[in-house]
Symmetry: D2
């Protein structure tokens, strides 16, 4: 389905970095909801460039224009469409890239797929800019979910060698939003230094993000290919730079015994089924357990670096490339709201599909 995600709630994303606009269509969103647009814009600003010393200098208003889906400030059941104009386009930064694909960017694969017709300017359809419409959709979903008692929050788990504390998977506490959203402020300061160092070296650095969803009922998700893990992974790998997705214990489960890994059931004081631990990450058989849904994503280092790199020319021969332009030395901080947004879209879709017949 390429640029469309979802079953009952369907998100379609369009746009290129240097096209007139990027945008999204969100179909199936419940009618009668009045979003707080200031809150939405605040959410979008967490992803927007130019918000922190660690982000690209590209400045855009990034206030979405809503084209449809509302009547009198409330969602009306019709598809919600919104666009963001690409106002600060500096195509000339990319002129020298037309013939030389940037290592670890999609320049080459776009060329392999679409040939000469591919729009490689600024990464085209593969640009991180496409996460802006994802955040519009996700921001709306987050607000709707929040009104139902479902909260989604993420934090930077790691930048380079520096690790943040981890969520308590049985009862996560969501951190304050900040340029670097972390649980442990000291770790955040070290991460900032790590990013500064990479920047000073004309280099970039990777990281990872941990995300939790609380307030979900047990019994959500469909078995086999449409469980919560399948849905979340499918949308999360739509965020550029994501190289891995793991739930609960994730890859660490490889070195655990069943007796360590199994989450023992008990009834809490309200008679709700809970588990003492949450290695499952809130999902068994693809279906929510009622415990917090916890997952992590790996984010690769920004491929655009100032250091000289080896590449080729499409026209033939090799080339030495130094990427000009505005690029984040670490994309992880801006990816935090993108992960929350992606999770919100997938969770709301599952919630709407999982409605009980009564």
């Amino acid at each position: 389905m390429s640029s469309t995600f979802g079953s009952v709630l369907r998100l379609t994303i369009f746009g290129q970095s240097h096209a007139p606009a990027v945008g999204m269509v969100l179909d199936g969103f419940p009618a009668g909801f009045a979003p707080d647009f200031d809150e939405l814009n605040a959410f979008l600003s967490r992803r927007a460039p130019g918000q922190s010393p660690y982000a690209t200098a590209r400045v855009e208003a990034d206030e979405p224009e809503f084209l449809s889906g509302f009547s009198g400030g409330r969602t009306c059941g019709a598809p919600i469409a919104a666009i963001l104009r690409n106002t600060d386009v500096r195509g000339k930064d990319y002129v020298n890239l037309e013939d030389v694909p940037r290592p670890s960017h999609a320049d080459w694969t776009a060329y392999a797929k679409y040939g000469e017709s591919a729009d490689r300017s600024g990464g085209g359809h593969f640009s991180g800019r496409l996460t802006a419409p994802l955040c519009i959709a996700g921001g709306l979903c987050l607000q709707w979910l929040s009104a139902q008692g479902v909260r989604i929050g993420a934090h930077i788990q790691r930048v380079g060698a520096v690790c943040d504390a981890s969520f308590d998977p049985t009862d996560p506490t969501f951190p304050a939003i900040a340029p670097l959203t972390v649980l442990d402020g000291a770790a955040g300061a070290k991460m900032a230094a790590e990013i500064e160092k990479a920047k000073a070296d004309g280099d970039s650095v990777g990281g990872s993000i941990e995300c939790a969803v609380t307030g979900l009922p047990a019994g959500l998700g469909e078995p086999m290919f449409d469980g919560m893990e399948n849905r979340l992974a499918q949308i999360l790998f739509g965020i550029p730079a994501v190289k891995g997705v793991e739930f609960g214990s994730g890859f660490a489960c490889a070195n655990l015994r069943g007796s360590e890994h199994n989450d023992a059931f008990y009834y809490d004081e309200n008679g709700a089924v809970r588990t003492h631990t949450n290695h499952a990450g809130g999902v068994l058989g693809g279906i929510t357990t009622g415990m917090p849904l916890v997952f992590r994503v790996a984010i690769k280092p920004t491929p655009s670096i100032a250091k000289e790199q080896e590449s080729i020319r499409f026209s033939g021969g090799s080339a030495a490339l130094t990427v000009q332009g505005r690029h984040d030395p670490c994309i992880v901080p801006r990816a935090v709201p993108c992960v929350e947004a992606a999770a919100a879209v997938a969770v709301l879709d599952a919630l709407l599909e999982g409605k009980k017949w009564s």
Copy 2:
């Protein structure tokens, strides 16, 4: 889409552990292909129980009966349907589980979703038995792909604390198939010991699997939500016990600089675009680079263990549970062909969708 996966090639899986049968429908498979059924059965036997000292003692012929999709031994374009009868059903092993959900199994989530009507016998629709029809579909796809020069192979990367060698991501060598399919025989011996130890303790142990796909053209996959990573992750999380999926450098990318992580392009002697390294795992922007596609999946320890565990009764109160019956102390060896099968289905779907108009 729950039990159906795919876009142009669509796989539907059905069955429960103790229902009359499990099976699959594979729609969109190319017409005119004559599978080698002996080779298919050999492939299925790699997943089948009772094949190694580390697997459950449940013995089933597991030779699929094909109900449709063939004419004169060749695929005819109609959907391929195949079933496996559940002949060795020992429901009584599960009687004491009706009221007591097994920790880290889907017993509880099936109950939360479907209520009293859920079939919890032997894990019902969530049983590992459902990977048998996945392997039928995948086995057919593997043969078709192989005839086109596309090879898919996996090995056990880790069991408990024991790690195998890793694929050379720029030029993987596929290991010999054995009870424990590994690159480094010495590591395999240690893994076997690790599994024996867990078994002797009435416990189980987790692991991970690495898989590579070679021979793919560059330019395969659709951007955004339907890239190779999205598709592979969606189907791989359909294999019970998978807790994480990562491509190329995966979570290790968090601690890398862009200058280390970027894969420099060059032309090989035949004029093909290649990269010196392959941290990308063969995918950029969701689209194949032409380098080997490399990914890893985390497999949790089998939740069914002989040790006593704490659980609840659906009828109320707590329960001490000791799981009887036949269970693998380590599911990783049998998951290797499942990972190959899942990859084959996703790759063939992408190949068929990505056909060029000419």
Copy 3:
């Protein structure tokens, strides 16, 4: 999606006329439902061959074997799979057809699509036999809907020049089930004569079917491409021999003025919104009005006739063809339950998707 239909409820059909079996997988059916299997078999027998003097002499038990989806006689949430063995296969009737496509059958198009590999025996995947699994799925849906007060019934509207009475579109009365299910018994007798005459001539005759759905709430269906008309048409054209689908006034609306065609609203004694007439056929903007849903389908004359016809040989040159074997002189009577079944699947899918969040 080819052989899979539906959004939240998904029906997959497989099989060929002379393969070991035909069957279906129905995924997303509500858990906890205990079908009346005798009632289901009675429903299937309405479609089965050999039930009336107007039907083919091919006799099959046509009692489905259920392979999965049940636990203790109730649906358990897992996909329901059922098969019908093809026991009375007389492939030799079709031997002379291997090289000569039957006019107005899919023999030629199957060859054009799949080449030599196509299974043309008995129509292969295009055989009317494939409506048997459709009726299994539809029969289950009909029972579930009936328990919710939704009734679906069809009658033969026309055979050749003979027309039955029409449903009162504001309050249809469902006819008794009989070999020829009609509203007007006298018309039924004339239809029987029409069919006998065609048979005596070694010929066949077409007809049409009218179907009504009562008890649906207003507000069902999704706008644009997923309205009730879109969904019903998509599945109804999956029944072989259907050449047209119309709702409410249908093609007769061409010769009506707006002032004649518009359905005036009023409140009934219970405060429910109703219309005095129902030219809309119970659907406006793709969404149910709360009035009965009424539609008609055109059924072409059975293409297999005993008269000599002109055709070609795939191997080259022309051929004179006389179709041997068992064929209905009029398929319309057996298509009545197929139309009901198709409608039931589409309606239940829309109902499940349209569940209200509360």
Copy 4:
């Protein structure tokens, strides 16, 4: 899928009559195509209001703004997004409709589905205005198809009691485009009079449209639920006012014998398989025969009429309604390009999915 149609080519439509814009996203369109935008605008003007004396007086530029999908004037493989601003919105015409649903409009069903939140102004998401983005998408597809030798053309088959000539289904001749696109100019003049008469009466009149597709290869379409008839019907019923869809002989087949209806095969001088007649409408078993694809759609009379009608008030009680504002006395002429556009989207999707592996 509601507002999204298609398999490999996916069209998403959004907007409301009085929202800021209507628009569409077309994903999966082949890369490297340079549309003729003047030709596209000429095509759109055939649907646009104010183009003929028989159309509403609402005047809009209706030149789409393309937001993405192009690079250097050529499609680049990324989703094509285009919008049309709603500049001539006269919401006040609709003020008196807020409480009174117009008979045979979707005002009531939108209310039944979405409640008070529904946007009923100008028909909201159910407005005929939504066919404008359909025509943008269809116009692009028509040009691409035309470059491949596939032509799609429609004509008014009927208005009220006046019938045009019919296509020769074995070799249709496409008529000249005119306010009333007809095969027989004399019939066109009578249709114009019929429309004038309805207008003078403060009334409206229905009609039907016949469409043909030539140049298609045999073997296109998927069996069962995704054949050419299923796909075309699904998208055609997305055009407001369509009440019926029939292929080839359509409902007239009810009164034909098999010996009359069957299309005899022969080889033409080039060795291509053809049929002497084309009652099949170019489709057998859902798959193209290689003969022209021919179908008809029924268009109901415009429900907005100046005559007083009976309705209800949502707030309670009955109401006498006279619809003000700009409305076509006959929508059929403007629906002709919409039918062509819908057909083009469905045909191109099938063509792209049906590409042969080689």
